[in-house]
Every structure is written in C-alpha cells, then in structure tokens.
C-alpha cells in the first residue's frame, strides 16, 4: 500500500498535464465559490462535459479539486461584508464580520483561508486512515451485498430530505430510479421506454440529466433574482498583508482546535445527508464550549472563524469515502460528483479498493495538493477576489446557458439530448421552485442500474436465499434502522435544527 500511496503522489506531481489541470480547477473553483448564485453543484455540472473523453484520473482530479476548493473562497464575502455565500459560511460570519468591523478583516481572512485549507488536508488524511480499516469488510462483498448496498444508498434518500420533504425526496429519488430503467433491458434486450429512438437505447444521458436537474434550474433562478450584492462597501481600506500573516499564524496557536474540528468535520462528512452546515455549526458550538472565555464569541473571536472553516472543508475528505467505496454520496455536491465519476468510467464500489487503489490515492493527494495550491493563491489574491461578489448575476446567465448547451451536446454528440435537456429542465425547475430536494434524483439514476444488475446476478447465483447471507442480514438491518431513524427524526418534536443538504 505504501508503494501505491507514494506512487500516486509521484504520478500526480510529476505530470505537468494533471498539475496544469489542477491549477485551472483551483482557479475556477475559487472564482465560482465567491461568485454569487453559482454553487458547487452548478459548477461541477457545468464542468462535467469538458472532462468527457478526458483520461479517467485527470478528469476526476480536475472535478474533485474544483469541488474541494469551492468552499475555501465562499467565506470571503462572509468576513468582509457579512454576507455568507451559503449555509456552510453562515457560522463564519458570526465572528468573521465583527473582526472585519474592528479593522481586522485581513487577520480573519488569513486565519479562515488557512483553516479551510488545513481542514481539507486533515479530512483527506482521515479518509486515508480509514482505507485499511474498511478494506477487509469491502472485500467480502458479492453481488448480493452490492444490491443491498445500492438499496442502502437509495434509502439514504430519506436522509437527504429533511422535515416535511421526506416523501418529496423519496418521490424524486424514485423518479431517478425510474429513469434508470430507460434503455435496453439487460435480461431480455427489450428497449424500455425507448421505442425506435436509438439514442435512448443506452439509457438517459447522465450528463443531460445532471445539467437539466441542477445547472438549468439554478441558472434560471439566478436570472430571475439577479444576484449582485451592491449595497455594501466595495473595499476594506485597513487591509494589509502583515495582518493577513498574523491571521495565518493563529493556526499554530490554536493547533489542537484545528485538529479536533477537522476530524469532527471529516466524520460528519462520512454520514450521508449531514452537510457542511451541520459540521460548521457543530464545531462552532464545540469551540465555544471548549473555550475558557466563551463570552468573546460573536464579538470577534478568531477561534469562531477557525472552527467552522476547518470543519466545513474537512468534511470533503470524509464524504469522499462513502462516495467512492459504496457509491453512496456523502452530500448533494458529492452526488453530482459521483455522476461525473461514472461518466469518466470510475465505478464506485469494492473494485476501487482492489483494482483502482492508485486512483483512490491520487484523489486523496489531489485533495491535499489542491487545498495547498488554493490556500497559497487565495492568500495572495483574496483582496481582489472579494470584488467578484459584486458581479451582476445576469451577466453570467447567458454564458452558463452556452456552457450547458455545449456540454449537453458534446457528451454524446446527439442533438436529441438538447430536447431532453429542455424537457427535464422543466421538471428540475419545478422541483427547485416547489422547494423539493433534487440530489436524490442523481442517487436514484446512478444506483438504479447498479441495483438492477446486482439483483439479477444475485438471483442467478443464490435465488432468494441471498437475503439470508450473514453480511446481507447486517445490511438489511442497517437499511431498516436507517429508515426507522429517518421516520423518527421527522416525526419527533423539533427543538433545534441541523441543516440537511438536499
């Protein structure tokens, strides 16, 4: 394993092609992270078509790096202007913005950017440590367990939906499963729902479906709402690089908090459905509780900036674990990334450990190297990157539309996919407008085919008795427990709230 581990690092850093792609991914990810209205999911969905046909490793490294550094720049507007880019950054605003108002924006930025980078790196290390622990379990899996793992993934749909949206989330997930049945039936060769339309015989294009469900609805919402933040001052006059460096030096001073919150973030990331917001708020609370002077929090405590940032980026490494080894995305962003991995030819599951461990290590190193590059770049340019917050969202809409249309066409070179794009986009936008979760769709579409294939294999091998295999029983118990917990969570009286991604 040591050979594979360092071989992957050498392969990554010695390839100018991959390093160049990573640099582009970091720059693109940072810009997208700070631009209002363009979230991580939209940026991955838009980038998928451009990695189509790319080498599997290069494409996966590109997308993962972009996804990993997305949140690193999102905190800038939280600190400088008190405007969180998304739920993950809201906790950072509590102490980051008061620091900016005290003329210490650069110190807060230095601490938060470095904390985010280190959190991402520790998250990747936690993932790496988990590999030898999981290996013996994953290697015992047969088609029966793969089918049940797929079912387990689908039952996580319940987790991706919160509150009164649980049924809606399941409907969306089942619709994804339903669309996974479109195309040639593997058993009989019957073209299901395809008729004479040859372009549907291989199934619904995953790129088209992801773009339609995520990119087009977000783009229309951005065009409808605008997206520029214009009512806040454009620049902080007190910004200095000396202050920025003093912020960076806060990390060694609070090293134990950094390690604790990064590990908590990574562990939360491994639990599908609990997003970065849960990690950020939980670790903010932990920082307050463990502080000797909790009264400073909310007034500009630097620990209140460090804790949520390490946690929200630390979760990326953790959420990659269920995504790669079980095909169960740890978050909605990972759901889109999972779809992208499949398009690149990376089939999540036990094979990742047996046949593609080098790819796994390359992805872990990509998380580490990508975060390092992002921290260095962002520390230098954060002052100017912040100005992107003022870009009018409407200026971006037509370019996103062009990206989406080209991506949809280039993915399979079928003009019919453009028609499918419009039709599915209508449903995707209806989901967004009605506030229905959309991530379960990708899980359903991705896992549907895998579930059907594994079920057929398991039935041929053992008949219905495959349900009584010891590992199958464990997985069945997990599915039942998961569904029961989801029901309990939704039926019990609510005291606080933890944001659940969808």
């Amino acid at each position: 394993m040591i050979d594979t581990m360092f071989g992957a690092l050498f392969g990554l850093v010695s390839s100018p092609h991959i390093m160049g792609l990573m640099l582009i991914a970091v720059i693109f990810g940072l810009l997208v992270g700070v631009t209002p209205g363009i979230g991580g999911k939209l940026s991955i969905a838009m980038a998928i078509p451009f990695v189509y046909g790319m080498d599997m490793v290069a494409g996966a490294v590109f997308l993962l790096t972009m996804h990993a550094v997305n949140g690193t720049s999102g905190q800038i507007s939280s600190i400088m202007f008190g405007i969180p880019g998304d739920g993950d950054d809201a906790a950072t605003t509590l102490d980051g913005y008061p620091l900016a108002k005290q003329g210490q924006a650069a110190r807060a930025l230095g601490a938060s950017i470095t904390a985010s980078g280190i959190g991402g790196i520790i998250g990747a290390v936690v993932f790496a440590v988990m590999i030898p622990i999981l290996e013996p379990i994953v290697l015992q899996f047969s088609p029966a367990e793969f089918f049940l793992i797929a079912l387990l993934g689908i039952s996580f749909i319940a987790f991706l939906s919160s509150g009164d949206k649980i049924v809606k989330g399941l409907i969306v997930g089942f619709w994804g499963l339903m669309l996974a049945t479109v195309g040639m039936d593997p058993q009989t060769g019957t073209p299901r729902y395809a008729g004479d339309m040859l372009f549907l015989w291989d199934g619904v294009s995953l790129v088209t479906a992801v773009l339609a469900l995520f990119a087009v609805p977000e783009m229309i919402a951005l065009g409808t709402k605008g997206g520029a933040i214009s009512a806040v001052p454009a620049e902080d006059k007190n910004f200095s690089y000396r202050q920025l460096l003093s912020g960076v030096m806060e990390l060694p001073r609070h090293w134990w908090l950094v390690i604790r919150t990064s590990i908590i973030g990574a562990v939360i990331g491994m639990i599908p459905g609990l997003g970065g917001s849960a990690a950020a708020w939980l670790c903010y609370g932990h920082a307050v509780q463990s502080s000797k002077t909790p009264e400073r929090f909310g007034k500009g405590a630097i620990e209140g900036v460090i804790a949520p940032e390490t946690a929200s980026n630390g979760k990326e490494g953790g959420s990659l674990l269920p995504t790669l080894f079980f095909g169960i995305p740890g978050s909605s962003g990972m759901a889109v990334l999972l779809g992208a991995f499949l398009i690149l030819g990376i089939q999540p599951g036990a094979f990742m450990m047996t046949d593609h461990l080098d790819v796994v290590w390359t992805l872990i190193w990509a998380l580490i190297v990508g975060n390092l590059i992002a921290v260095v770049i962002l520390l230098v340019v954060c002052r100017w990157v912040a100005l992107l917050t003022f870009v009018n969202g409407k200026m971006l809409v037509p370019f996103i539309l062009v990206f989406v249309a080209i991506g949809c066409f280039v993915s399979e070179f079928q003009w019919q996919n453009l028609v499918i794009l419009v039709l599915f986009s209508a449903i995707g936008y209806a989901f967004l407008r009605a506030g229905w979760p959309r991530a379960p769709f990708v899980i359903g579409l991705v896992l549907g085919g895998q579930a059907e294939a594994s079920l057929n294999q398991a039935l041929q091998l053992w008949g219905l008795s495959f349900f009584t295999r010891p590992l199958s029983l464990v997985l069945i118990a997990m599915i039942v427990a998961l569904m029961a917990f989801a029901l309990y969570r939704n039926l019990r009286p609510r005291r606080g709230h933890i944001h659940v991604e969808g």
Partner: protein, 173 residues
C-alpha cells in the same frame, strides 16, 4: 397549502402511472424493475397528495379559528416578506424560460455558431443592460473563443443546425 407543490406531485403521479402503464406491455423480466420502482413511486405520490390535503384542511380550520368573532382582530405583523418565487416573479421566470427554449431551438435549427452570438448579444443588452460596446465585445469574443476552443483546438464539430447547411449549400458555400 403550497399549490405549486401539489400540482407537481400530481404531475409526478401522472409520470409514474404512465411509465408503469407502458411497462405492462413489456415481457415479464423486462417489466420487473419498472414495477419495483414505479408502484412505490405511485404510492408515494398518493401519500404526498394525502399529506397536502390534510395540511390544507388544518390550514382552513386555523383560518376559521382566527377569523371567528371570539378571536378578535387579526394580529398585525407588518408587511409580509415576499417568497422567493411566486406571482411577483412569474413574468421574469417566463422570460428566462423563453430565452432557454429560444436558444435551444435556435441551436437545433441554426447551429451553435449562429445561435450563441445572437443569444449572448440579445441577453446581455436587454436583460443585463450592458453597454453596446461590452455586449458586442463579449458576444463576438465568446463566439470566437468557442470556435478556437472546440472547432480549431479540440477538433469537435458542434451541431451546425438543420437549416444552416441547406442555406450555405443554397448560396454555393
């Protein structure tokens, strides 16, 4: 009751029912999975419609209680905040959809290299209120970059449209 959400549930019910109905025409093995997925899908849609109806009834009861004589004057909470989407955004949403549909139709009929600059220039000028200089610079610049990246560098043939090749042949190009 969120009417839009309820309508969406009804549409999903229709989609699931149609797909299950079509699956009945397939051989037993081929229709197994569509049934396994579609029938629970139908059940979930019906459950959601039931939940919506129950919530609507509760809401109606609550309103009756609020407006009953003993309840006194309704509480004044100040001006209500507008929801993210609603009647007030419908016109803008339709306009955005018109751009999407027109652009895709344009790509299908005229191809990427004609539809892209046309859409960029129209949108940037009319919706983003960009100056003519910025609009033309971005519109034409983006199309040139598109050609250089896909046509020249990657050698990818983007869809040229159904009509454009005929017109080009007609004029002898």
């Amino acid at each position: 009751m969120n009417n839009f959400s309820t309508w969406l549930t009804a549409v999903m019910l229709l989609i699931f029912s149609t797909m299950v109905g079509i699956a009945m025409l397939y051989p037993v093995d081929a229709r197994f999975m569509p049934f396994v997925v579609g029938i629970p899908g139908i059940a979930l849609c019906l459950l959601q419609l039931g939940l919506d109806a129950a919530r609507a009834n509760n809401g109606l009861l609550f309103r009756h209680f609020q407006t009953a004589p003993k309840a006194g004057k309704p509480v004044e909470d100040g001006p209500a905040e507008l929801p993210e989407f609603g009647r007030h955004t419908a016109k803008r949403e339709l306009k955005m959809w018109a751009y999407v549909v027109a652009f895709i139709a344009g790509v299908l009929v005229l191809g990427f290299y004609i539809s892209v600059p046309a859409m960029l220039i129209t949108f940037l000028r009319r919706e983003a209120a960009a100056s003519w200089r910025t609009t033309l610079l971005l519109g034409i610049g983006a199309t040139v970059v598109l050609y250089l990246m896909f046509g020249a560098l990657l050698q990818i043939r983007l869809h040229s449209g159904f009509l454009t090749p005929l017109i080009l042949r007609g004029v002898g190009l």
